[in-house]
Amino acid sequence: MKAEPLSLLITILPLLATLSICVVLSNPSKAAENNPVDWTEREFALIQSLSLSQLPPQPPSPSNRYADNPSAASLGRAIFNDARFSANGEVSCATCHRQDYGFTDDLPRGLGIGVANRRTMPIVGMAYQKWFFWDGRADSLWSQTLGPLENPVEHGIDRHQVQQLVSAHYAQPYQQVFAGDATNQPVDQVFANTGKALAAHVRTVLPETTLFDLYADALRSDSNETSILTTAETRGLRLFVGKAKCVNCHNGPMFTNGEFHHSGTPDNGETDLGRGAAFSDLETTEFGFFGKWSDADPQADGDHIRFLDRNTHKYAGTFKTPTLRGVSDRPPYMHNGAFNSLAQVLNNYRAVSGSTLADEVFHGDLTDRDLVDLEAFLGTLSSNSNDFHN
Protein backbone atom coordinates (compact mmCIF):
# COMPACT_ATOMS: atom_id res chain seq x y z
CA MET A 1 0.00 0.00 0.00
CA LYS A 2 1.49 3.26 -1.09
CA ALA A 3 -0.03 6.48 0.05
CA GLU A 4 1.11 9.96 0.72
CA PRO A 5 1.34 10.25 4.49
CA LEU A 6 -0.51 13.55 4.48
CA SER A 7 -3.46 12.35 2.48
CA LEU A 8 -3.64 9.24 4.58
CA LEU A 9 -3.73 11.37 7.68
CA ILE A 10 -6.42 13.57 6.21
CA THR A 11 -8.54 10.57 5.48
CA ILE A 12 -7.94 8.71 8.70
CA LEU A 13 -8.38 11.55 11.16
CA PRO A 14 -12.03 12.29 10.49
CA LEU A 15 -12.67 8.57 10.41
CA LEU A 16 -11.22 8.11 13.83
CA ALA A 17 -13.26 10.99 15.10
CA THR A 18 -16.51 9.65 13.71
CA LEU A 19 -15.65 6.16 14.82
CA SER A 20 -15.31 7.25 18.38
CA ILE A 21 -18.61 9.11 18.12
CA CYS A 22 -20.20 5.95 16.78
CA VAL A 23 -18.91 3.97 19.66
CA VAL A 24 -20.36 6.43 22.10
CA LEU A 25 -23.72 6.84 20.43
CA SER A 26 -23.97 3.34 19.00
CA ASN A 27 -27.03 4.13 16.97
CA PRO A 28 -27.96 1.52 14.39
CA SER A 29 -30.13 2.92 11.62
CA LYS A 30 -33.72 2.65 12.67
CA ALA A 31 -36.40 1.11 10.52
CA ALA A 32 -39.17 3.48 9.57
CA GLU A 33 -41.80 2.70 12.16
CA ASN A 34 -45.02 2.66 10.20
CA ASN A 35 -43.51 0.44 7.59
CA PRO A 36 -44.71 -3.13 7.09
CA VAL A 37 -41.64 -4.48 5.28
CA ASP A 38 -39.44 -2.62 7.73
CA TRP A 39 -37.47 -0.60 5.24
CA THR A 40 -34.79 1.53 6.83
CA GLU A 41 -35.22 5.27 6.53
CA ARG A 42 -32.52 5.34 3.90
CA GLU A 43 -34.12 2.57 1.83
CA PHE A 44 -37.49 4.19 2.16
CA ALA A 45 -36.14 7.52 0.95
CA LEU A 46 -34.35 5.92 -2.00
CA ILE A 47 -37.45 3.97 -2.99
CA GLN A 48 -39.47 7.16 -2.97
CA SER A 49 -36.82 8.96 -4.99
CA LEU A 50 -37.24 6.36 -7.76
CA SER A 51 -40.99 6.65 -7.87
CA LEU A 52 -42.79 8.26 -10.77
CA SER A 53 -44.70 10.44 -8.34
CA GLN A 54 -41.38 12.21 -7.74
CA LEU A 55 -41.00 13.05 -11.42
CA PRO A 56 -41.02 16.84 -11.57
CA PRO A 57 -42.81 18.73 -14.34
CA GLN A 58 -40.72 18.79 -17.50
CA PRO A 59 -37.79 21.12 -17.02
CA PRO A 60 -37.58 23.93 -19.58
CA SER A 61 -35.32 23.56 -22.59
CA PRO A 62 -33.60 26.94 -22.86
CA SER A 63 -31.94 26.11 -26.17
CA ASN A 64 -35.30 25.37 -27.83
CA ARG A 65 -37.99 27.95 -27.37
CA TYR A 66 -40.49 25.73 -29.20
CA ALA A 67 -39.89 22.82 -26.83
CA ASP A 68 -43.27 23.11 -25.14
CA ASN A 69 -45.21 24.51 -28.08
CA PRO A 70 -48.05 22.07 -28.91
CA SER A 71 -48.13 23.02 -32.62
CA ALA A 72 -44.39 22.40 -32.85
CA ALA A 73 -44.93 19.03 -31.19
CA SER A 74 -47.63 18.01 -33.63
CA LEU A 75 -45.46 19.04 -36.58
CA GLY A 76 -42.61 17.07 -35.00
CA ARG A 77 -44.84 14.09 -34.50
CA ALA A 78 -45.81 14.04 -38.17
CA ILE A 79 -42.18 14.21 -39.28
CA PHE A 80 -41.18 11.58 -36.71
CA ASN A 81 -43.49 9.14 -38.46
CA ASP A 82 -42.85 10.29 -42.02
CA ALA A 83 -40.73 7.84 -44.02
CA ARG A 84 -40.40 10.30 -46.90
CA PHE A 85 -37.60 11.78 -44.82
CA SER A 86 -35.20 9.04 -45.89
CA ALA A 87 -33.05 8.01 -48.82
CA ASN A 88 -35.30 5.10 -49.77
CA GLY A 89 -38.65 6.46 -48.55
CA GLU A 90 -38.93 3.66 -46.02
CA VAL A 91 -37.22 4.88 -42.87
CA SER A 92 -38.70 7.19 -40.28
CA CYS A 93 -37.67 7.82 -36.70
CA ALA A 94 -40.46 5.42 -35.75
CA THR A 95 -38.82 2.61 -37.74
CA CYS A 96 -36.20 2.30 -35.01
CA HIS A 97 -37.98 4.02 -32.13
CA ARG A 98 -41.06 1.78 -32.16
CA GLN A 99 -43.93 2.82 -29.95
CA ASP A 100 -44.97 -0.82 -29.57
CA TYR A 101 -41.49 -1.71 -28.30
CA GLY A 102 -40.77 0.89 -25.65
CA PHE A 103 -39.60 3.35 -28.32
CA THR A 104 -36.61 1.24 -29.27
CA ASP A 105 -36.31 -1.89 -31.43
CA ASP A 106 -35.46 -5.53 -30.91
CA LEU A 107 -32.12 -5.47 -32.72
CA PRO A 108 -28.55 -5.37 -31.41
CA ARG A 109 -27.89 -2.45 -33.79
CA GLY A 110 -30.43 -0.05 -35.22
CA LEU A 111 -31.41 -0.77 -38.82
CA GLY A 112 -32.21 2.04 -41.24
CA ILE A 113 -30.69 2.57 -44.66
CA GLY A 114 -27.88 0.48 -43.28
CA VAL A 115 -26.84 -0.91 -39.91
CA ALA A 116 -26.17 1.70 -37.24
CA ASN A 117 -23.08 1.27 -35.12
CA ARG A 118 -24.95 1.10 -31.83
CA ARG A 119 -28.21 -0.13 -30.39
CA THR A 120 -31.29 2.06 -30.70
CA MET A 121 -31.98 3.88 -27.44
CA PRO A 122 -35.42 4.02 -25.85
CA ILE A 123 -36.56 7.63 -26.04
CA VAL A 124 -38.86 7.88 -23.05
CA GLY A 125 -38.50 10.82 -20.65
CA MET A 126 -36.02 12.68 -22.84
CA ALA A 127 -37.02 16.04 -21.36
CA TYR A 128 -35.19 14.98 -18.20
CA GLN A 129 -31.85 14.36 -19.93
CA LYS A 130 -28.91 16.69 -20.47
CA TRP A 131 -26.84 14.65 -22.91
CA PHE A 132 -28.00 12.57 -25.85
CA PHE A 133 -26.77 9.43 -27.60
CA TRP A 134 -24.89 6.62 -25.84
CA ASP A 135 -21.83 8.86 -25.76
CA GLY A 136 -23.67 12.12 -25.08
CA ARG A 137 -22.23 13.79 -28.15
CA ALA A 138 -25.33 15.99 -28.49
CA ASP A 139 -25.89 18.65 -25.84
CA SER A 140 -29.53 19.27 -26.64
CA LEU A 141 -32.45 17.13 -27.72
CA TRP A 142 -33.11 19.18 -30.84
CA SER A 143 -29.53 18.92 -32.04
CA GLN A 144 -29.66 15.18 -31.34
CA THR A 145 -32.62 14.73 -33.68
CA LEU A 146 -30.63 16.19 -36.58
CA GLY A 147 -28.02 13.44 -36.30
CA PRO A 148 -30.07 10.49 -37.59
CA LEU A 149 -31.47 12.52 -40.51
CA GLU A 150 -28.01 13.07 -41.99
CA ASN A 151 -26.56 9.77 -40.84
CA PRO A 152 -26.04 7.71 -44.03
CA VAL A 153 -27.03 4.45 -42.31
CA GLU A 154 -30.13 5.86 -40.61
CA HIS A 155 -32.28 8.25 -42.73
CA GLY A 156 -29.53 8.91 -45.23
CA ILE A 157 -30.69 12.34 -46.41
CA ASP A 158 -29.21 15.80 -45.93
CA ARG A 159 -30.41 19.18 -44.72
CA HIS A 160 -31.23 20.36 -48.25
CA GLN A 161 -33.56 17.43 -48.70
CA VAL A 162 -35.05 18.16 -45.30
CA GLN A 163 -35.77 21.71 -46.40
CA GLN A 164 -37.37 20.50 -49.63
CA LEU A 165 -39.49 17.93 -47.81
CA VAL A 166 -40.64 20.42 -45.20
CA SER A 167 -41.45 22.99 -47.89
CA ALA A 168 -43.32 20.45 -49.97
CA HIS A 169 -45.32 18.74 -47.23
CA TYR A 170 -45.36 20.93 -44.13
CA ALA A 171 -45.13 24.53 -45.40
CA GLN A 172 -48.27 25.63 -43.63
CA PRO A 173 -47.65 24.15 -40.14
CA TYR A 174 -44.02 25.28 -40.40
CA GLN A 175 -45.16 28.81 -41.16
CA GLN A 176 -47.56 28.70 -38.24
CA VAL A 177 -44.96 27.55 -35.69
CA PHE A 178 -41.85 29.36 -36.86
CA ALA A 179 -43.45 32.42 -38.47
CA GLY A 180 -41.30 31.99 -41.55
CA ASP A 181 -41.29 30.46 -44.98
CA ALA A 182 -39.45 27.15 -45.11
CA THR A 183 -38.64 27.68 -48.78
CA ASN A 184 -36.89 31.00 -48.28
CA GLN A 185 -35.15 30.62 -44.95
CA PRO A 186 -31.50 29.57 -44.84
CA VAL A 187 -31.19 25.81 -45.06
CA ASP A 188 -29.52 25.53 -41.64
CA GLN A 189 -32.35 27.46 -40.04
CA VAL A 190 -34.99 25.15 -41.51
CA PHE A 191 -32.91 22.16 -40.47
CA ALA A 192 -32.53 23.45 -36.89
CA ASN A 193 -36.23 24.28 -36.67
CA THR A 194 -37.13 20.81 -37.90
CA GLY A 195 -35.01 19.48 -35.06
CA LYS A 196 -36.77 21.75 -32.59
CA ALA A 197 -40.18 20.47 -33.74
CA LEU A 198 -38.97 16.85 -33.50
CA ALA A 199 -37.65 17.56 -30.01
CA ALA A 200 -40.96 19.11 -28.98
CA HIS A 201 -42.64 15.86 -30.01
CA VAL A 202 -40.07 13.58 -28.37
CA ARG A 203 -40.53 15.50 -25.11
CA THR A 204 -44.14 14.34 -25.00
CA VAL A 205 -43.10 10.69 -24.69
CA LEU A 206 -43.43 10.02 -20.97
CA PRO A 207 -43.11 6.93 -18.82
CA GLU A 208 -46.11 4.91 -17.65
CA THR A 209 -47.01 4.09 -14.09
CA THR A 210 -45.67 0.67 -13.15
CA LEU A 211 -46.17 -1.87 -10.39
CA PHE A 212 -43.12 -0.47 -8.66
CA ASP A 213 -44.65 3.02 -8.64
CA LEU A 214 -47.87 1.69 -7.16
CA TYR A 215 -45.83 -0.03 -4.47
CA ALA A 216 -43.86 3.14 -3.67
CA ASP A 217 -47.09 5.12 -3.47
CA ALA A 218 -48.65 2.50 -1.21
CA LEU A 219 -45.64 2.62 1.10
CA ARG A 220 -45.89 6.36 1.34
CA SER A 221 -49.61 6.42 1.94
CA ASP A 222 -49.40 3.74 4.63
CA SER A 223 -52.05 1.72 2.85
CA ASN A 224 -50.42 -1.60 3.76
CA GLU A 225 -50.84 -2.72 0.15
CA THR A 226 -47.37 -4.19 0.17
CA SER A 227 -48.56 -7.35 -1.57
CA ILE A 228 -48.34 -5.32 -4.78
CA LEU A 229 -44.84 -6.76 -5.05
CA THR A 230 -43.98 -10.41 -4.45
CA THR A 231 -41.36 -11.41 -1.91
CA ALA A 232 -38.79 -11.91 -4.65
CA GLU A 233 -39.54 -8.51 -6.19
CA THR A 234 -39.31 -6.84 -2.80
CA ARG A 235 -35.99 -8.53 -2.11
CA GLY A 236 -34.78 -7.42 -5.52
CA LEU A 237 -35.77 -3.86 -4.74
CA ARG A 238 -33.86 -3.99 -1.48
CA LEU A 239 -30.78 -5.23 -3.33
CA PHE A 240 -31.23 -2.55 -5.98
CA VAL A 241 -31.12 0.33 -3.47
CA GLY A 242 -28.71 -1.45 -1.13
CA LYS A 243 -26.12 -4.17 -1.51
CA ALA A 244 -26.14 -4.28 -5.32
CA LYS A 245 -25.73 -0.48 -5.53
CA CYS A 246 -27.62 -0.24 -8.80
CA VAL A 247 -29.12 3.02 -7.55
CA ASN A 248 -25.71 4.66 -7.75
CA CYS A 249 -26.23 5.14 -11.48
CA HIS A 250 -29.81 4.09 -12.12
CA ASN A 251 -31.31 6.75 -9.89
CA GLY A 252 -34.15 9.27 -9.83
CA PRO A 253 -37.64 8.59 -11.20
CA MET A 254 -36.22 7.74 -14.65
CA PHE A 255 -33.78 5.21 -13.16
CA THR A 256 -30.85 7.01 -14.73
CA ASN A 257 -28.49 9.77 -13.68
CA GLY A 258 -27.94 10.62 -17.34
CA GLU A 259 -24.18 10.34 -16.83
CA PHE A 260 -21.45 8.19 -18.34
CA HIS A 261 -20.02 5.13 -16.68
CA HIS A 262 -18.00 1.99 -17.16
CA SER A 263 -20.33 -0.89 -16.66
CA GLY A 264 -18.08 -3.60 -18.01
CA THR A 265 -20.03 -4.41 -21.17
CA PRO A 266 -17.94 -6.73 -23.34
CA ASP A 267 -16.97 -5.06 -26.61
CA ASN A 268 -16.59 -8.25 -28.63
CA GLY A 269 -13.39 -6.97 -30.15
CA GLU A 270 -14.89 -3.74 -31.46
CA THR A 271 -13.45 -0.85 -29.52
CA ASP A 272 -15.92 1.92 -28.89
CA LEU A 273 -14.52 4.84 -26.90
CA GLY A 274 -18.02 6.06 -26.07
CA ARG A 275 -17.99 9.26 -24.06
CA GLY A 276 -14.22 9.48 -24.41
CA ALA A 277 -14.56 10.32 -28.10
CA ALA A 278 -17.53 12.67 -27.80
CA PHE A 279 -15.98 15.87 -26.50
CA SER A 280 -14.65 17.01 -29.85
CA ASP A 281 -18.09 16.52 -31.45
CA LEU A 282 -19.54 18.73 -28.76
CA GLU A 283 -17.15 21.48 -29.71
CA THR A 284 -17.41 21.27 -33.47
CA THR A 285 -21.13 20.96 -34.05
CA GLU A 286 -22.80 24.03 -35.55
CA PHE A 287 -26.07 23.03 -33.90
CA GLY A 288 -24.79 23.02 -30.35
CA PHE A 289 -26.28 24.53 -27.22
CA PHE A 290 -24.04 27.58 -27.58
CA GLY A 291 -24.32 27.68 -31.37
CA LYS A 292 -25.92 30.10 -33.75
CA TRP A 293 -29.30 28.35 -33.86
CA SER A 294 -29.69 27.86 -30.14
CA ASP A 295 -32.21 29.93 -28.17
CA ALA A 296 -30.20 29.65 -24.95
CA ASP A 297 -28.76 32.59 -23.07
CA PRO A 298 -25.03 31.91 -23.40
CA GLN A 299 -24.23 33.59 -20.09
CA ALA A 300 -26.91 32.12 -17.85
CA ASP A 301 -27.70 28.71 -19.34
CA GLY A 302 -25.71 25.61 -20.02
CA ASP A 303 -23.55 25.24 -16.91
CA HIS A 304 -23.60 21.47 -17.47
CA ILE A 305 -21.65 22.09 -20.67
CA ARG A 306 -19.52 24.99 -19.48
CA PHE A 307 -18.20 23.08 -16.47
CA LEU A 308 -18.14 19.64 -18.05
CA ASP A 309 -15.19 17.47 -17.12
CA ARG A 310 -13.68 16.71 -20.54
CA ASN A 311 -11.14 14.15 -19.45
CA THR A 312 -11.00 11.88 -22.49
CA HIS A 313 -8.96 9.30 -20.69
CA LYS A 314 -11.29 9.02 -17.71
CA TYR A 315 -14.36 8.68 -19.91
CA ALA A 316 -12.95 6.36 -22.55
CA GLY A 317 -15.27 3.39 -22.84
CA THR A 318 -18.06 4.91 -20.79
CA PHE A 319 -21.67 5.05 -21.94
CA LYS A 320 -24.78 6.82 -20.80
CA THR A 321 -26.72 5.07 -18.08
CA PRO A 322 -29.96 3.97 -19.76
CA THR A 323 -33.37 4.24 -18.11
CA LEU A 324 -34.60 0.96 -16.66
CA ARG A 325 -38.27 1.84 -17.04
CA GLY A 326 -39.84 -0.75 -19.30
CA VAL A 327 -36.53 -2.58 -19.54
CA SER A 328 -37.83 -6.15 -19.30
CA ASP A 329 -40.06 -5.57 -22.34
CA ARG A 330 -37.34 -4.55 -24.76
CA PRO A 331 -34.27 -6.75 -25.17
CA PRO A 332 -31.50 -6.68 -26.34
CA TYR A 333 -29.43 -4.59 -23.94
CA MET A 334 -26.43 -2.28 -23.73
CA HIS A 335 -25.01 0.14 -26.30
CA ASN A 336 -23.94 -2.69 -28.55
CA GLY A 337 -26.81 -5.07 -27.90
CA ALA A 338 -24.33 -7.42 -26.22
CA PHE A 339 -26.97 -9.21 -24.14
CA ASN A 340 -30.28 -10.77 -25.07
CA SER A 341 -31.69 -11.17 -21.60
CA LEU A 342 -31.68 -9.44 -18.25
CA ALA A 343 -30.20 -12.59 -16.75
CA GLN A 344 -27.13 -12.07 -18.97
CA VAL A 345 -26.89 -8.41 -18.00
CA LEU A 346 -26.99 -9.30 -14.31
CA ASN A 347 -24.51 -12.11 -14.65
CA ASN A 348 -22.11 -9.72 -16.28
CA TYR A 349 -22.54 -7.17 -13.50
CA ARG A 350 -21.61 -9.87 -11.03
CA ALA A 351 -18.63 -10.96 -13.11
CA VAL A 352 -17.13 -7.49 -13.59
CA SER A 353 -17.91 -6.12 -10.15
CA GLY A 354 -14.91 -4.28 -8.75
CA SER A 355 -12.69 -5.07 -11.73
CA THR A 356 -10.89 -2.41 -13.73
CA LEU A 357 -13.42 -2.98 -16.51
CA ALA A 358 -16.08 -1.45 -14.36
CA ASP A 359 -14.38 0.59 -11.70
CA GLU A 360 -17.62 2.02 -10.39
CA VAL A 361 -19.59 -1.18 -10.13
CA PHE A 362 -19.17 -3.04 -6.90
CA HIS A 363 -21.80 -4.79 -4.96
CA GLY A 364 -20.56 -7.34 -2.54
CA ASP A 365 -21.03 -10.88 -3.67
CA LEU A 366 -24.29 -11.33 -5.40
CA THR A 367 -25.70 -14.83 -4.99
CA ASP A 368 -27.64 -16.68 -7.68
CA ARG A 369 -30.80 -15.94 -5.77
CA ASP A 370 -29.88 -12.24 -5.64
CA LEU A 371 -29.67 -12.19 -9.43
CA VAL A 372 -33.04 -13.88 -9.76
CA ASP A 373 -34.62 -11.42 -7.35
CA LEU A 374 -33.04 -8.43 -9.06
CA GLU A 375 -34.44 -9.65 -12.34
CA ALA A 376 -37.86 -10.07 -10.73
CA PHE A 377 -37.65 -6.50 -9.48
CA LEU A 378 -36.68 -5.15 -12.91
CA GLY A 379 -39.87 -6.78 -14.20
CA THR A 380 -41.91 -4.46 -11.97
CA LEU A 381 -40.63 -1.46 -13.94
CA SER A 382 -42.83 -2.23 -16.93
CA SER A 383 -46.39 -1.17 -17.35
CA ASN A 384 -48.63 -3.85 -18.71
CA SER A 385 -50.04 -1.83 -21.53
CA ASN A 386 -48.42 -0.63 -24.69
CA ASP A 387 -50.26 2.61 -24.91
CA PHE A 388 -47.79 5.25 -23.93
CA HIS A 389 -48.89 8.81 -23.32
CA ASN A 390 -48.48 10.09 -26.75
Binding site: N27, S61, G258, D303, H304, D309
Partner: protein
Protein backbone atom coordinates in the same frame (compact mmCIF):
# COMPACT_ATOMS: atom_id res chain seq x y z
CA UNK B 1 -11.85 2.35 29.14
CA UNK B 2 -12.93 -0.06 26.43
CA UNK B 3 -13.45 2.68 23.91
CA UNK B 4 -9.89 3.80 24.31
CA UNK B 5 -8.93 0.28 23.40
CA UNK B 6 -11.17 0.48 20.39
CA UNK B 7 -9.61 3.73 19.34
CA UNK B 8 -6.15 2.25 19.59
CA UNK B 9 -7.28 -0.81 17.75
CA UNK B 10 -8.81 1.27 15.00
CA UNK B 11 -5.55 3.12 14.43
CA UNK B 12 -3.90 -0.09 13.43
CA UNK B 13 -6.78 -1.91 11.88
CA UNK B 14 -8.49 0.87 9.97
CA UNK B 15 -6.22 1.28 6.98
CA UNK B 16 -6.94 -2.31 6.08
CA UNK B 17 -10.61 -2.53 6.88
CA UNK B 18 -11.22 0.79 5.21
CA UNK B 19 -11.01 -1.00 1.90
CA UNK B 20 -9.17 -0.93 -1.34
CA UNK B 21 -6.72 1.72 -2.28
CA UNK B 22 -6.44 2.92 -5.82
CA UNK B 23 -3.32 3.69 -7.78
CA UNK B 24 -2.95 7.24 -6.58
CA UNK B 25 -3.30 6.30 -2.97
CA UNK B 26 -6.84 7.30 -2.16
CA UNK B 27 -8.57 5.09 0.34
CA UNK B 28 -12.04 3.80 -0.33
CA UNK B 29 -14.13 4.43 2.75
CA UNK B 30 -17.63 3.40 3.72
CA UNK B 31 -20.02 6.01 5.02
CA UNK B 32 -19.67 6.45 8.77
CA UNK B 33 -22.84 5.77 10.72
CA UNK B 34 -22.84 9.25 12.14
CA UNK B 35 -21.84 12.06 9.87
CA UNK B 36 -21.75 15.76 10.51
CA UNK B 37 -23.42 17.18 7.43
CA UNK B 38 -23.70 20.78 8.51
CA UNK B 39 -23.37 23.45 5.87
CA UNK B 40 -20.97 25.44 8.05
CA UNK B 41 -17.50 24.18 8.86
CA UNK B 42 -14.47 25.77 10.48
CA UNK B 43 -10.80 25.04 10.83
CA UNK B 44 -9.70 23.57 14.11
CA UNK B 45 -9.01 26.82 15.91
CA UNK B 46 -11.70 28.73 14.09
CA UNK B 47 -9.25 30.72 12.00
CA UNK B 48 -11.47 30.28 9.00
CA UNK B 49 -15.11 29.43 8.67
CA UNK B 50 -16.96 28.47 5.51
CA UNK B 51 -20.62 27.93 4.81
CA UNK B 52 -22.68 27.28 1.70
CA UNK B 53 -26.22 27.84 0.50
CA UNK B 54 -28.10 26.71 -2.58
CA UNK B 55 -31.45 27.61 -4.11
CA UNK B 56 -32.85 24.29 -2.94
CA UNK B 57 -34.28 22.77 0.21
CA UNK B 58 -31.94 19.84 -0.28
CA UNK B 59 -28.86 19.65 -2.44
CA UNK B 60 -30.19 18.25 -5.73
CA UNK B 61 -29.32 14.87 -7.16
CA UNK B 62 -28.41 14.98 -10.89
CA UNK B 63 -28.93 18.69 -11.22
CA UNK B 64 -26.19 21.12 -12.20
CA UNK B 65 -26.49 23.97 -9.73
CA UNK B 66 -24.56 26.70 -7.94
CA UNK B 67 -23.40 27.21 -4.37
CA UNK B 68 -23.08 30.51 -2.58
CA UNK B 69 -20.03 30.09 -0.42
CA UNK B 70 -19.19 32.47 2.43
CA UNK B 71 -15.81 32.75 4.13
CA UNK B 72 -15.27 34.39 7.48
CA UNK B 73 -12.28 34.80 9.72
CA UNK B 74 -12.16 34.24 13.47
CA UNK B 75 -13.61 37.68 14.13
CA UNK B 76 -16.51 37.03 11.77
CA UNK B 77 -15.07 39.34 9.13
CA UNK B 78 -15.52 38.40 5.47
CA UNK B 79 -12.44 36.88 3.87
CA UNK B 80 -11.96 38.45 0.48
CA UNK B 81 -9.72 37.59 -2.43
CA UNK B 82 -9.18 33.99 -1.38
CA UNK B 83 -8.02 31.50 -3.94
CA UNK B 84 -10.33 28.49 -3.62
CA UNK B 85 -10.05 25.13 -5.28
CA UNK B 86 -13.10 22.94 -4.78
CA UNK B 87 -13.21 19.20 -5.30
CA UNK B 88 -16.03 16.79 -4.62
CA UNK B 89 -15.61 13.07 -4.14
CA UNK B 90 -17.50 10.02 -3.06
CA UNK B 91 -15.27 8.27 -0.55
CA UNK B 92 -17.07 4.99 -1.21
CA UNK B 93 -16.19 5.08 -4.91
CA UNK B 94 -13.02 7.09 -5.33
CA UNK B 95 -14.83 9.04 -8.00
CA UNK B 96 -15.63 12.69 -8.23
CA UNK B 97 -18.08 14.75 -10.16
CA UNK B 98 -18.62 14.70 -13.90
CA UNK B 99 -18.20 18.46 -13.87
CA UNK B 100 -15.31 20.62 -12.73
CA UNK B 101 -16.97 23.32 -10.66
CA UNK B 102 -15.39 26.73 -10.55
CA UNK B 103 -15.27 29.29 -7.79
CA UNK B 104 -15.85 32.92 -8.74
CA UNK B 105 -15.65 36.14 -6.76
CA UNK B 106 -18.82 38.16 -6.32
CA UNK B 107 -19.58 41.80 -5.53
CA UNK B 108 -20.27 40.94 -1.88
CA UNK B 109 -17.11 40.72 0.26
CA UNK B 110 -16.53 37.18 1.50
CA UNK B 111 -19.15 35.70 -0.81
CA UNK B 112 -18.06 33.39 -3.61
CA UNK B 113 -20.12 31.69 -6.29
CA UNK B 114 -19.43 28.06 -7.12
CA UNK B 115 -20.86 27.13 -10.52
CA UNK B 116 -21.15 23.69 -12.06
CA UNK B 117 -21.86 21.54 -8.99
CA UNK B 118 -23.45 18.20 -9.91
CA UNK B 119 -23.95 15.28 -7.55
CA UNK B 120 -24.78 12.45 -9.91
CA UNK B 121 -25.01 9.59 -7.42
CA UNK B 122 -26.99 9.41 -4.21
CA UNK B 123 -25.13 8.98 -0.94
CA UNK B 124 -22.07 10.19 0.86
CA UNK B 125 -20.10 13.02 -0.72
CA UNK B 126 -17.21 15.09 0.55
CA UNK B 127 -16.66 18.57 -0.78
CA UNK B 128 -13.17 19.80 -0.02
CA UNK B 129 -12.07 23.41 -0.21
CA UNK B 130 -8.40 24.18 -0.60
CA UNK B 131 -8.27 27.82 0.40
CA UNK B 132 -5.25 30.05 0.03
CA UNK B 133 -5.48 33.58 1.39
CA UNK B 134 -3.04 36.11 2.77
CA UNK B 135 -0.13 33.72 2.80
CA UNK B 136 -1.85 30.84 4.56
CA UNK B 137 -3.50 27.72 3.31
CA UNK B 138 -6.41 25.80 4.78
CA UNK B 139 -8.34 22.68 3.96
CA UNK B 140 -12.00 22.63 4.85
CA UNK B 141 -14.46 19.86 4.22
CA UNK B 142 -18.23 19.57 3.98
CA UNK B 143 -19.90 16.19 4.31
CA UNK B 144 -23.13 15.66 2.41
CA UNK B 145 -25.72 12.94 2.05
CA UNK B 146 -27.34 13.52 -1.31
CA UNK B 147 -30.60 12.20 -2.71
CA UNK B 148 -31.82 10.37 0.34
CA UNK B 149 -34.42 12.84 1.44
CA UNK B 150 -38.04 11.78 1.14
CA UNK B 151 -39.14 14.91 -0.60
CA UNK B 152 -37.43 13.70 -3.71
CA UNK B 153 -35.43 15.73 -6.17
CA UNK B 154 -36.04 19.43 -6.41
CA UNK B 155 -35.91 20.96 -9.78
CA UNK B 156 -36.04 24.74 -9.62
CA UNK B 157 -33.22 26.22 -11.62
CA UNK B 158 -31.47 22.94 -12.36
CA UNK B 159 -29.70 23.13 -15.64
CA UNK B 160 -31.22 21.42 -18.64
CA UNK B 161 -30.67 21.14 -22.34
Amino acid sequence: MHWLLLLLLSIFVLPDTAGAMDAIGKVRRERPEVLDTSATVATRYGTLQASYETDFLEVPLNGVHSWRLSLQDKQGQPVTGADIVLTADMPEHLHGMTTTPQVQDTQTPGLYLVRGMNFHMPGYWEVTLDISEAGSRHLLRFNLIVGENQRGPDRKGADES
